[in-house]
């Protein structure tokens, strides 16, 4: 048996269930042409396209099954399209029930004086400080990392924010820093040495931003 002609898509791995049509083309090639034509939005009239698939009765017969399959596929696609109607709330709750029970490894940061031996987990404090930053209208808080400065028992805060377009940045970032420092002290009692703020994006304001204080 002679080797079959290599079809365009390098589908030599098809050999075991491929079929050689009486016209000399491989079934896989006839199907690949069908697929290209089905998915191609551009009109092929003006191109020097391959006329064989249209004219050859063997190739036409070979793709008839595909056409029939395609209409069943369209039906199945419609039937299983759930994305718009799916209520993800029960599933979300089930997932979050497990997530909230898991203990993420994390480092503790000091509360109060060094000798007091009182601590708060980084992720917990970070949540509070992000919320603090977001009480400034237009702020979206991102990464919030806390570092324990062992020498004096204080905490260094590194916070990324998205700030609104059009505000003078130095004043704005100072406002945010102030909020973070205030909340770190009043709400947590965490000794904060420095708040390093990094503006990672500037965004046009949305309707949300008029609200004073985003709920976490």
């Amino acid at each position: 048996m002679t080797d079959p002609i290599e079809p365009p898509h390098g589908t030599s791995t098809h050999e075991d269930d491929d079929e050689l049509l009486p016209c000399g083309r491989l079934l896989s090639r006839a199907w690949a042409d069908w697929e290209d034509q089905a998915r191609d939005d551009r009109s092929r009239d003006g191109e020097a396209g391959d006329a064989h698939p249209r004219n050859c009765p063997h190739c036409r017969e070979a793709v008839r099954g595909l056409d029939e399959l395609e209409s069943a596929v369209r039906g199945l696609r419609t039937e299983t399209a759930a994305a718009d109607s799916y209520d993800s709330e029960p599933l979300t709750r089930r997932i979050m029930d497990v997530v909230r029970l898991e203990l993420r490894p994390g480092r503790p940061l000091p509360l109060g004086e060094p000798a007091e031996d009182l601590w708060i987990m980084e992720a917990v404090a970070a949540r509070t400080l992000r919320s603090a930053a977001e009480t400034v209208p237009g702020v979206r808080a991102g990464s919030c990392r806390l570092r324990h400065v062992h020498e004096d028992g204080t905490v260094e805060v590194r916070l990324d924010i998205h700030a609104p377009l059009g505000v003078p940045l130095p004043d704005f970032t100072e406002r945010v820093r102030e909020q973070v420092r205030r909340v770190a002290d009043r709400a947590l009692g965490m000794p904060t040495a420095a708040v390093h703020l990094r503006v990672t994006d500037l965004l046009p304001p949305t309707a949300d931003d008029d609200r004073e204080g985003r709920t976490p």
Partner: protein, 116 residues
């Protein structure tokens, strides 16, 4: 909870301390699973000698030296977090003073693992 530790002196002590902690204003609850996941720089004593009430870990790292009590607690946002932690520390110290009067002053480490 491990039944074989809850009736040891350590186990009962840890349970008492846990109760005293939950009575502190601003405490939501004790964090379960403390002994499984506690990250500490201190040398661990053998697992069965430690009290294992949820959220309370009681060890005596230096043999006959003072107790080390480690508390994991979830606090309420309404209260100032450091004040809650101080309240927990004081409650534990006081309770131990009552239940084990001959003991030297314990070391109490309080870690807030959540805010509600």
């Amino acid at each position: 909870m491990n039944d074989h530790t809850s009736n040891t002196p350590y186990g009962r002590l840890a349970a008492e301390l846990a109760t005293s902690v939950t009575e502190v204003p601003g405490v939501a609850f004790l964090r379960p699973g403390l002994t499984d996941r506690l990250r500490t720089a201190l040398p661990r004593s053998a697992p069965h000698s430690a009290g294992t009430a949820a959220g309370v870990r009681l060890t005596r790292p230096d043999g006959e030296g003072p107790w080390h009590v480690e508390i994991h607690v979830v606090a309420l946002r309404q209260a100032r977090t450091v004040d809650v932690a101080r309240g927990v520390r004081d409650a534990v110290g006081h309770r131990l003073g009552v239940l084990a009067p001959g003991e030297p002053r314990p070391r109490v480490t309080v870690t807030v693992t959540g805010l509600l």
